[in-house]
């Protein structure tokens, strides 16, 4: 980029120095001034030798008219409207020298101007001018041809460009606009900011204080209108236009600065900053303002500054409480500081390229600021406070050091030994001495008669399935309880088949059946068979109930090599194809879960075959609901040693239950006594502790 290149203000593209428009965006590179505007807006200037006939004709007519009237021909380059203006004659140059109109000679009341002068007070020279202008206007109105584009194109252009909102005046008023009278001027457009002050810095007369009349293009900045070009209707003398002090102003004020109050400059000079202290020297009241300016201020309604009025008499603005609370005092502190003009950066891009002091494009919200701490107050409810306190106490307890536990004093379990000794002695005495001998129960359990009846009704040609689902630890009880039932079945020569979902089940079954069956001549494989272990839990139980032949892989203690089909070919299981083909299903269980599993999974597949539960005394309360319902899922229950003893009595043959009965009875007596004594000891201790606590409190 060279110094002669021009940067486009719109897109920052570098263009040659002679370019008038940007090669990229087409924006104008050179400012448009009045002369150029006219040249652009008007018809193109014909080149030498290419002038149209119309222009040649006009020029010849003008020259001929000038020759006949003695006027000088128009100078080339001057606007046509200027050439058409008649030069002011001697009698139109204004009042005679040394004679001023009264309105102008008056020191006060200049704002009213000559318009307030009575018509009879108009001087003769001015009256003549107005009369001649009136006659010329009337004649021009009568003889004026319709406006053509040739001779009035500039006027129309001006009206269109600079008076877009002003209605177009009739043709008859056109001369008045170009040559307005000296009366009060209509409100016109203000001067552009860039327009320099008038050549005479002193306040001009009222006729010259306003901007140029509407429709006039202000001269370009820095240019002064030529004196010779000033239209004579403005009434401005040649001396005034040349910057000389008018006569009327010479007498209005002192010609020098002596005696004037000191007014500090509002705009600092280079290297000097305007300080409030220096600005305070400005006392408006001490300035001698011209009368005409004072009148203007009165008309504008501007009150003169009062020394004691401002600020103090005004009430301080207050915000509502809610709005004051929302006011972000600390958050939105002004962080954008206005720097000196020299320190401000020059915009490098965009339509504002080259300008200094441009507002930052970065929004204020994105600039760093102080963090806001407002709203950090936590509202805690009662419950939250209680929970927080609880957590606090828990943490404190965790954090507190726990001292080493003192070594526990070794105490011999005398009470446990005493109870154990009593129980052992009570259980062993009947076995050792045969005494005491307790009587057998006379009351028959409620479900026993139904069980005996059920066993009596079992068909002899169908085997009974015995499920041995208990652990060896319960063998001492359940062998004695199930013994009478097996005794009854064997007395009826009913074939037996055993199965178990526990690995220890088949040996327990073999042990019990062999011990009881020896007296009845029962043989393995002929009178009874062990189907063996049924793995799989509840799934295996349901599968076995659905299809017994497919669910079991091998038996236990079979006479022949275990095969899948081998055990089902024994005479014991002859005729058994499905679960309901068993004459009865007897479940010997020590736990609630396994008993319920058989009831739930195999119960629906029993058909008409009865389901009998031989249970430990500990699970009897949970088995009873399946039995005592109107539609029972268990057809008979045999539980506990007393029921077994009663069953043996019903069978007429004493068995293991009866052998255990004395020991069991004495042991239960000791246990009950221990419970009673323990309960009494606990109650006494509680009463003693409560009494001690009451007395202490």
């Amino acid at each position: 980029m060279t110094m002669a290149d021009v940067r486009c203000p719109m897109c920052s593209t570098i263009n040659p120095a002679d370019a008038t428009a940007c090669s990229v965006c087409g924006a104008r590179l050179k400012p448009m001034i009045a002369g150029e505007a006219e040249s652009l807006a008007g018809p193109p200037e014909p080149q030498e030798g290419e002038a149209g006939d119309w222009l040649a004709r006009i020029r010849s007519e003008v020259e001929r008219k000038a020759e006949t009237s003695g006027e000088a021909p128009p100078r080339p380059g001057e606007p046509e409207w200027l050439n058409r203006l008649r030069p002011a004659s001697g009698e139109e140059e204004g009042p005679p020298e040394g004679e001023l109109p009264e309105w102008l000679s008056e020191e006060e009341g200049s704002a009213a101007g000559p318009s307030e002068a009575a018509p009879g007070e108009v001087p003769d020279w001015l009256a003549r001018i107005r009369e001649r202008q009136k006659t010329e206007l009337e004649a021009a109105a009568e003889e004026a041809p319709p406006p053509s584009a040739d001779d009035d194109w500039l006027g129309r252009l001006r009206r269109e460009e600079f008076l877009p909102t002003e209605p177009e005046a009739p043709l008859g008023e056109e001369p008045e606009r170009e040559a307005p009278p000296l009366g009060p001027r209509p409100p016109s457009r203000p001067l552009p900011p860039s327009s320099p002050p008038a050549p005479a810095a002193a306040p001009p007369p009222i006729s010259a204080t306003g901007p140029p009349p509407s429709g006039r293009i202000p001269p370009p900045s820095g240019e002064k209108p030529a004196v010779s070009q000033a239209p004579p209707f403005m009434g401005i003398s040649k001396d005034l236009l040349e910057g000389a002090m008018p006569k009327w102003l010479e007498g209005a004020g002192p010609s020098s600065d002596e005696g004037l109050p000191h007014m500090p400059a509002l705009v600092a000079e280079e290297g000097l900053a305007v300080t409030p202290e220096s600005a305070s020297d400005l006392q408006m009241g001490s300035i001698d303002i011209p009368n005409w300016l004072g009148d203007l201020r009165k008309d504008a309604g501007v009150a003169p500054p009062d020394a004691g009025a401002p600020g103090d008499s005004l009430a301080r603005a207050t915000l509502p409480a809610w709005l004051e609370a929302m006011r972000p005092m600390d958050t939105f502190r002004p962080v954008v500081e206005i720097q000196a003009e020299d320190a401000q950066e020059v915009e490098s891009a965009g339509p504002l390229a080259g300008l200094r002091g441009v507002l930052l494009a970065e929004p204020v919200v994105a600039m760093p600021r102080q963090p806001s701490y407002s709203g950090a107050r936590l509202e805690v409810t009662e419950r939250q406070f209680a929970l927080a306190d609880l957590i606090h106490r828990m943490v404190e307890q965790e954090a507190s050091e726990v001292g080493p536990k003192p070594p526990a004093r070794r105490r011999l379990p005398f009470s446990r030994w005493a109870i154990a000794g009593a129980l052992f002695l009570a259980v062993a005495l009947p076995a050792l001495l045969g005494a005491p001998s307790l009587s057998v129960p006379t009351l028959v359990p409620p479900g026993l008669p139904a069980l005996i009846t059920l066993v009596d009704s079992l068909p002899g040609d169908r085997p009974v399935l015995l499920v041995f689902d208990y652990e060896p630890a319960y063998a001492g009880e359940l062998d004695a309880v199930a013994g009478p039932l097996l005794e009854d079945l064997m007395q009826r020569d009913i074939r037996l088949a055993t199965v178990s979902t526990r690995p220890s089940g088949p040996p327990l079954a073999e042990r019990l059946i062999r011990r009881i069956g020896d007296a009845h001549g029962y043989l393995n494989g002929q009178d009874y068979v062990h189907l063996g272990y049924l793995p799989g839990g509840p799934a295996a139980v349901q599968l076995f109930a659905r299809d017994p032949r497919e669910s079991l892989a091998g038996g236990f203690l079979l006479a022949q090599e275990p095969t899948r089909r081998g055990m089902w070919s024994t005479p014991v299981l002859a005729g058994v194809q499905q679960f309901s083909d068993f004459g009865a299903v007897v479940i010997i269980a020590a736990g609630t879960e396994i008993a319920r599993t058989w009831v739930e999974q195999a119960g629906p597949w029993t058909g008409a075959s009865p389901l009998v539960m031989v249970a430990s005394a500990g699970i009897e309360p949970l088995i009873r609901p399946y039995y005592e319902a109107l539609n029972p899922q268990v057809d008979a229950v045999l539980s506990g040693l007393p029921a077994a003893v009663a069953y043996e009595q019903a069978n007429g043959r004493a068995g293991d239950a009866r052998l255990l009965w004395d020991s069991f009875g004495t042991g239960m007596l000791v246990a009950e006594m221990a419970l009673i004594l323990g309960g009494m000891y606990g109650a006494a201790s509680f009463l003693l502790r409560s009494g001690t606590g009451t007395s202490e409190s």
Binding site: A431, S504, E600, A617, E628, G640, F664
Partner: protein, 234 residues
Amino acid sequence: MTVDLTALETAGTIASALLTLMVLSYILGDNVLFRIAVHLFVGVAAGYAGALALRTVLYPRLVLPLLSDGFSAITAAFVVSWVLALLLGLKAWPSTAWLGSLPMALLVGVGAALVVGGAITGTLVPQALATMDSLDPSAVAPLTGETGFERVANVLILLIGTISTLVYFRFTARRGPLGEALRSPLSIAVSFVGSVFIALTFGVMYAGALAAALAVLSERIQFLVGLARGLLGG
């Protein structure tokens, strides 16, 4: 009770008596004898269960068909059984234990489905219907034969016990200002009655367990007494 003192059974009976005494030694406190007996029981039970599973489940299901029927026994179900068994066996090694998740998931899923389904159809629905039917005083229990005032009393006890027990297990309540549960006085009173029924039930179960334990103790004491008499020639 007589004890057959043949050679093998004599050894077994003596071992059984010693183990019984070792377990009963827990009365004196935790001791080595009790621990030896417990470890011995656990080991014997596990070994026996493994041997039984191998003999009665794996061999008849996975090997015997091939030996008896040859390749004709290889069916889809047979192959699936082998694959699942092998995958389950891989759980023995930590690096391949994840492969056994599939058969384990199958076992657990099927078992859970069966348990839940059986509980609903075999216990929950029948017991609920039985409870409602039991509230009819005119109905006569077919097995117990209760009639008259006994039946009415049983029905009332059953009704009160069922409702109060259900109310006791009601764990929903309104929340107080400090987060505590607020229950109505009626609910608290009914819950107390329910807790009494629950306590009675637990008492009965404890009595049954005590009776079962005493029966077992009686059997063991008589066994020891009989063994002693046999050894002493009495």
